[in-house]
């Protein structure tokens, strides 16, 4: 009993220590930021920056203020932050769903059949290293301001999922397939009951990596124009209007959105791995 109490105490205190360390490092970061902003504004005799550089570095509290106001009383291009978030999320999930729906079957096929691998490899290897951002000008003209950003997000998410699923499908232990065969499994059974569950953890890694890249892509894509707003668009417009506290507020929002989607993916991963019995 005493042991249980002690280990529970250790768990709580170790978590508390982690939280405390995170808060401390964030405080240090904010302090350095604040000092830098103050330094830019100070009227030192040896300062030597007569330009308006201070304008680009608002105080942390100004950013927080702008973040708050953007939701309630300061629309950008006639839209409040909530509407920008909605527009971005919509594009993001469209791109994600498309990428997921295509990358999983293609990855499984390329991982299991040398013919699919041989046929797909040149195309994948050629397109994969091209930064999705490079497609922006073409997609915006070809697909427009609504489907264009979706296509960019799609490209950003597609390849991490594809490569991880392919690697997972290729790594299936051959004795597991032998075992399934001696238990009467045919090709489809092996695919659904051995290859697919084996690949799930790899798939989830691909999803996590893809989500991060997806947010990078959507900001870039929306900067060149987005109908109905978007957080990337919000950043671009406020910077153009020299409303820099708002620009930083938009950047903060991207960080928060990325953390949220990664968190959701983590929850889904736990559910799925429980479902396939990995945990």
């Amino acid at each position: 009993m005493a042991g249980i109490v002690r280990s529970a105490y250790q768990l709580v205190s170790s978590n508390w220590r982690k939280v405390a360390l995170g808060l401390a490092s964030t405080a240090v970061f904010l302090l350095i930021w604040w000092l830098y902003a103050a330094w830019l504004r100070a009227d030192w005799p040896f300062h030597g920056t007569p330009s308006g550089a201070w304008e680009y570095v608002p105080y942390p509290l100004e950013v927080l203020d702008a973040f708050y106001l953007s939701f309630w009383s300061h629309p950008v291009s006639g839209l409040y932050m909530g509407e920008h978030i909605y527009a971005s999320l919509k594009r993001f999930f469209m791109g994600f769903i498309l990428a997921f729906a295509l990358a999983v079957p293609v990855g499984l096929l390329m991982g299991r059949f040398w013919t699919a691998d041989a046929a797909g490899k040149p195309i994948v290897e050629l397109i994969r290293p091209i930064p999705p951002i490079a497609w922006i000008p073409i997609f915006l003209v070809l697909l427009g301001v609504i489907r264009g950003p979706i296509a960019i997000v799609f490209l950003g998410i597609f390849f991490p999922i594809l490569l991880n699923v392919q690697f997972g499908a290729r790594s299936v232990d051959p004795t597991l397939i032998d075992a399934a065969r001696t238990l009467g499994a045919r090709r489809l059974d092996i695919f659904l009951k051995v290859v697919l569950p084996f690949t799930v953890p790899y798939l989830m890694t691909g999803v996590t990596v893809g989500l991060g890249i997806g947010w990078m892509c959507i900001v870039a894509a929306e900067m060149l124009g987005a109908a109905g707003g978007g957080v990337g668009y919000f950043i671009f417009v406020t910077a153009g209007n020299s409303q820099f506290p708002y620009t930083y507020a938009g950047m903060l929002m991207i960080g928060i959105l990325s953390i949220l989607t990664t968190g959701v993916a983590g929850l889904v991963e736990r559910r799925v791995s429980k479902w396939v019995g990995m945990r």
Partner: protein, 266 residues
């Protein structure tokens, strides 16, 4: 079982297997002959690389033969199937499935209804002594327990024969001895025909009705040694040691031949 008539379970005749490794052509088996009777326990024994696992994999339908015939109850084997259960040295359990779900795999594939699956899996869980571990995952089990799952999984399909590829090869000596006794108990409870590959003379003499000693590559039957000792066998008895010595002598000669061949190749 099946009246007094002795019927043949597995019939292998003039089996050969040639495979290509890079540019070398390797003859793994050549003119391998064996008949296993219904309900019999036969051990395949031979120097490493003699092709004993290849024989088993061909019977399982996991590998294609180059020539010859392999029949199960008079019917030619062409591919893998649930009428031949296999137990692997590396256990080959599905890590994402619980013990119960591993055992039910073959039944799921056959689309046996869930309630019936539960009844069958319970029967084999009890038979191999896994009661209380139904909902554990393989990683939570010791090697011996894992192989109990492997055996139950193969038996749940009610196969005509059980093919075992060095199933206790990765277990420690103590567990190995225990599992050999357990296997004999399961064998007498189910009456299955067992074809068992091992490189341990001791294991073969303890388990088998007949021991098939194979030659070095290309593998064929060198000698079939019947073990006419009553079970349970005593490893330290004079008779046991006698049979062991006879098998060892046969095997040693093959080892020497294999070594001489290797040396002449270098």
């Amino acid at each position: 079982m099946g009246g007094n008539a002795v019927t043949t379970s597995i019939a292998i005749s003039s089996l050969s297997k040639v495979f290509r490794k890079e540019k070398k052509i390797i003859t793994a088996l050549s003119g391998f002959e064996l008949e296993v009777r219904e309900g019999e326990f036969v051990c395949l024994l031979g120097p490493s690389g003699c092709g004993k696992t290849t024989v088993l994999r061909i019977v399982a339908g996991l590998e294609e033969k180059t020539s010859g015939t392999v029949k199960l109850q008079g019917r030619e084997i062409t591919s893998s199937g649930s009428d031949r259960g296999m137990v692997f040295q590396e256990f080959a359990l599905f890590p994402w499935r619980t013990v119960r779900k591993n055992i039910e795999f073959g039944l799921e594939v056959k689309a046996v209804p869930e309630e019936k699956r539960a009844v069958i899996s319970k029967k084999y869980i009890d038979l191999v002594g896994l009661h209380g571990f139904e909902d554990s995952h393989p990683r939570e089990l010791s090697g011996g327990m894992k192989q109990r799952v492997g055996i139950a999984r193969a038996l749940a399909n009610n196969p005509k024969v059980l093919l075992m590829d060095e199933p206790f090869g990765s277990l420690d000596a103590q567990t190995r001895n225990l599992m050999q006794k357990e296997l004999l108990r399961i064998w007498s409870a189910t009456g299955k025909t067992i074809l068992f590959v091992t490189h341990s003379v001791d294991e073969a003499v303890f388990l088998a009705d007949r021991i098939v000693v194979m030659t070095a590559r290309p593998g064929k039957v060198r000698e079939i040694i019947p073990v006419d000792l009553p079970r349970p066998r005593e490893r330290t008895s004079r008779e046991f040691i006698g049979v062991r010595g006879k098998v060892l002598a046969e095997l040693d000669e093959e080892f020497e031949k294999a070594r001489a061949k290797e040396l002449s190749h270098d």
